[in-house]
Symmetry: C2
DNA sequence: TTGCATTAGATGAACGTGCATGTATCTTTC
DNA sequence: GAAAGATACATGCACGTTCATCTAATGCAA
């Protein structure tokens, strides 16, 4: 357990996260009116290509349950997703994407990829 | 420029950052009354072992200038650092650590290292 | 010297997040 | 089937961050 490697890894994560997050927030915001978290949620739903429980999203997105609840609320207000009651478990809430949401995601995806490539294109690779 | 690798790297950074940040915030907060940013600033000053300009700190810490200004204000209020006028450039502000600050940092450092080892101990190594 | 652009840092306001908690629903146990 | 506890999601609140702006000091040109 080499402490120096651990600290270096943390420094790298900190720096990469900061750079990428700022760039994403800026580009996605300016060009598509989306925050990074909002895009991430949209992206997860599109990726699964089906309705998802809030809870399922929570496992995949790096947000607290409360933060996720608000992101979904914002997305719903912008008509990019719809919330629906869950038949099986009436405590649950399904989230599904709207046509506008799908379109916005498709439009924003290249921007996100471009930003990530810009930043991680020459990044040190991760070896298992 | 393999897009999949880039996206995977981003996923890893996102996940590692989230886990480590939450853990640091919790542990440093509960055990030493420090936020992650506050520890980071303290750590940078101790590392250089000299007075630093706010501006210099800004280059090393992943915070906006305004956020840094407030962190330093909080640290000063807690008597962990002192702000001082800069002779050469009277717009500038020097920050130096107090004895209490040095002590708090020394006390918190093992906690930080423990958290990082916990999370990055078996992390994929970064290869250049 | 005066005037103007630039830079260092502080601060008000808006916003997003997490924590704690609230409400509703489900599950288990007796 | 009633009571007790767990779970899903929403929400009030405190806090930290960023953005825009402000003040003060500096540098530079005329």
């Amino acid at each position: 357990m080499d402490e120096q490697i651990v600290v270096d890894t943390w420094q790298y994560v900190l720096s990469a996260h900061s750079k990428a997050m700022c760039a994403l927030e800026r580009e996605l915001g300016e060009r598509h009116g989306l925050g990074a978290s909002e895009f991430e949620v949209l992206d997860r739903i599109v990726h699964h290509d089906r309705q998802l429980r809030i809870q399922e999203l929570c496992d995949e997105v790096h947000l607290s349950q409360s933060a996720l609840s608000r992101v979904v609320a914002r997305l719903e207000k912008a008509d990019l997703v719809k919330r629906g009651a869950c038949e099986d478990d009436r405590r649950g809430v399904f989230v599904c994407i709207t046509d506008a949401g799908r379109a916005r995601h498709a439009e924003a995806l290249p921007t996100q990829r471009a930003v990530l490539c810009e930043i991680f294109g020459d990044a040190p690779a991760l070896t298992r």
